[in-house]
Point group: C2
Chain length 516, copies 2
């Protein structure tokens, strides 16, 4: 069979059975193979940032890689920002980047570019497949690489002639290595630190342990030792709600984060790395951990973090007895839409088992706090700071979990980076409700300008954060892509619209007006 057919069969045989795609001419044989290998589901995106962000959302929800199909260097470039976010989320993804036929590359045709260099910036593994006989093995290696060391992008560059040449045989499943266990000595010594340091210790956790089991272990550690428990500002995924114990979120603003960490003498890392300021500011430190604090890299993202955390909790606390789950009460908000009422509307209507894709920026400041008592749900954050992630991630999460409702909470400025995601939601009739928080501004930048220096911000520079000249009508942008839309101008209407959208099948957009 052709290389492309063998590639698809190999991917399917390695548990990769969704391909988010925006193909071009050099990918025609891959696309044609979708007919021959119907076990692989092809999902079309109108822009590569949708494709890669969807693969990120899919991978976060399943723990398995989706494939992406991208058209040479420019296609990879268009998808790069969301692969950057996926890199920070450590999401397994297998990128298939089509390229010119091997003997065509030397001709420097118009679409020729340095794919390897660009791919290297976001991938933990990059390989160009150079023959139809090596292609299936390369695909297996890509899948394994994407699922190793905590997860990440593996980028397989696929020359057109390797895809179209006959004589390939699919390869069988590769062996994905189990995460490394944390050794007993480390568990023991860390337990000793926590026991002796008491409230001067803090456990700092990331996405890999932010599920009910992880939180139960953390609650036990906290109750037994007095250690504080904090989590990354932007975890890849949190399973949360129902009133259960949750770690404190490390604040985005560096000065607040430094206050949170003040007095910590021992910081124990579980499934994450040492926290640092998101950006540098004049005369402010980039490291957030106080001077003199000892940082203990207890369990790195590639380790068996959940297992290690359970052992640690068992050692310091004996038994793990989490607070029973209870939902509510959750009051329906009234009045104007603002950060408080919008958060309350989301909390009052969040369905059991929902997946929340959060790119709400300044509008969503209180969303997480408000939803602590909402029914159990998953929360996906903007891990790498590259805006334009929220709607694609929601799309991929919905493909991954067809039976779960998805709520995509989206700031207006960032919505405009990958607004094309709505079309894929309509095409696939996904149960995604998107709330666009329309405040008519890059509000975070106006805030950041204040922070870098108070004397700043004349009318010209301030106009660079203004999205009201002209106003963007997100209802029209949604309807133009086949997604029904509603504008909500007060909290009651927002709450009603959320309920209605989540009751009806298929995608919906609610434009929440955070301004008169």
């Amino acid at each position: 069979m052709r290389g492309a057919d063998a590639l698809l069969r190999t991917l399917v045989g390695n548990d990769v059975d969704v391909c988010f795609a925006n193909p071009g001419t050099s990918e025609m044989h891959f696309v044609a193979a979708l007919d021959a290998v119907p076990e692989m589901r092809g999902v079309l995106g109108l822009f590569e940032g949708v494709v890669t962000g969807a693969a990120d959302g899919y991978g976060r929800m399943t723990g398995r890689p989706a494939a992406t199909l991208l058209h040479l260097g420019p296609g990879l470039g268009n998808g790069l920002a969301n692969l950057h976010n996926a890199r920070r989320a450590r999401t397994p993804i297998v990128n298939v980047v089509g390229d010119h036929a091997l003997d065509h590359k030397v001709l420097d045709a118009p679409l020729e570019s340095d794919i390897d260099a660009v791919a290297g910036s976001v991938s933990r593994w990059v390989r160009r497949s150079t023959s139809v006989s090596s292609l299936p093995g390369d695909a297996v290696d890509a899948v394994v690489a994407s699922r190793t060391g905590g997860g990440g992008s593996a980028t397989l560059i696929l020359p057109a002639d390797v895809a179209w040449t006959d004589g390939a045989e699919p390869a069988g499943p590769g062996a994905v290595p189990a995460p490394s266990p944390v050794d007993d000595d480390t568990v023991r010594s860390t337990a000793d630190v926590l026991r002796s340091a008491g409230a001067s210790a803090a456990v700092f956790v990331g996405g890999p342990v932010m599920d009910p089991d992880g939180m139960a272990a953390l609650q036990a550690i906290h109750e037994a030792t007095g250690a504080r428990v904090l989590h990354e500002t932007f975890p890849s995924r949190m399973t949360r709600g129902a009133g259960r114990f949750e770690s404190d979120r490390l604040m985005y603003l560096a000065e607040m984060a430094a206050d949170q960490l003040a007095g910590v003498e021992h910081l124990v890392l579980v499934g994450t790395v040492e926290p640092v300021a998101f950006f540098a500011y004049p005369d402010k430190p980039g490291r957030l951990v106080p001077a003199g604090c000892t940082v203990h890299a207890f369990a790195s993202p590639g380790d068996d973090c959940g297992g290690a955390l359970a052992e640690l909790a068992g050692r310091v606390a004996g038994r793990i007895e989490p607070t029973p789950a209870t939902v509510g009460p959750l009051d329906r908000p009234t009045g104007a839409i603002d950060v408080f009422t919008a958060a309350a509307a989301v909390a009052a209507t969040l369905p059991e088992g929902a997946i929340v894709s959060d790119e709400s920026a300044t509008c969503g400041l209180f969303m997480q706090g408000a939803t602590l008592h909402a029914p159990e749900h998953d929360w996906l954050s903007l891990t790498g700071g590259a805006i334009g992630q929220g709607m694609p991630v929601a799309t991929g999460a919905a493909i991954a979990c067809r039976d779960r409702p998805v709520l995509s909470i989206q700031a207006d400025g960032s919505a405009m980076y990958t607004i094309q995601a709505l079309w894929t939601q309509a095409r696939e009739q996904l149960d995604v409700t998107t709330v666009i928080c329309n405040n008519g501004a890059y509000a975070v930048l106006a805030m950041e300008m204040d922070r870098v220096g108070g004397e700043f911000g004349g009318p010209i520079s301030r106009s660079m954060f203004d999205l009201t000249r002209p106003d963007i009508d997100f209802c029209r942008l949604a309807e133009g892509q086949g997604v029904p839309a509603t504008r909500a101008t007060d909290a009651e209407a927002l709450t009603d619209a959320l309920e209605r959208a989540q009751r009806e099948p298929g995608p919906h957009v609610i434009e929440a007006m955070f301004r008169p």
Copy 2:
């Protein structure tokens, strides 16, 4: 003064006075400096692909670089595809990519990535400015680099602390080297080749000589020697129309291009490189030049191509006497909208001095032929094959030439890559008329699938080229961004809408329905 202020003053002093921007926190001091240096015009784009494509359109029309302002690696990534196209167009651009402060980089904050590697793939010059004292000189070097060797992107990576630190002094103008002259011996020997080879020679030209002077010289060469004259499939810019002589376009399809070049024994290159197939296909050659043909690299893009061509024409023809310009007749089309009537509608309504940004793909097959007798205009092509260029390039061309009407002819599939360009057109109230050719398909891919192998194309793969599930309503997408829009369902309505849009100030969208 601060580094950012000195940078802006240095750019302005080096004739760079427009900055297409999509900033983030690390660029706040650059943005703030827009108030201090109002000679620099900041133009906001809602997505970086708009920013870089606009800089490409601006540079093609002015010959001078605009600056872009991009937010770290992900911002550069989002702008990469249109920087790829600009690289192929050899457009001068100065990219300013904001980065973390120098001592923040080692902390591997969420937005940290390998900017240098990504920038290198599209730039002829990349430098990270490491101090406030070197920044102004770095900026001068960037401008000079962007204007050297035929032109290209120079990427200046600007750490936030270098931008915010005090003590900088602006640098004066740098010396842009003149293009290299082609030596007399080369002119003489090439003239000898053309004279002796007659109709078995062809001159193959690119954007740098595709203006009335260049075409007049080519007409003289053709008439004096019998040599054929051909041009690149996708030149960066052609000044054309008014019934004047024009070189033949090398066809996009490799088999047709090879037919055009059959029998050519000497190919003389002026302002371009040897033509090759856009893509490779099974059992088809990638080189288009016939076996045995001698390729003469007469004037490379970095050379004084116009001067060399004039000398060559003078030597073989003596006098250059082009056909006088005459416009029309141009009939108004009737009936359904198709490739013929749409081209006729454009030709019948094209205003004198228009700038055409052409990303019409299969819908625009006859646009260039139809407009040969339209009033003089400039034509900008999709140079690098990375779709999503057309509307951003139109935006930048309109900023460059405020007194000229711009016509943006746009295929529907590619329109969805950078649809956000419409918002900038509305914000800046640019005289851009965008015709979206809605055929509900990636039609070029359906054609390419036929070409790679006739047995292909089952229902699943064909569905990957279908843009009708759901239909995209481009009028709503335009109106949602503040641009008035009209749907034309026959050729009369299209012609009327074109006339009306070009008469009224500000941007307009016409959705031309290439289907019932």
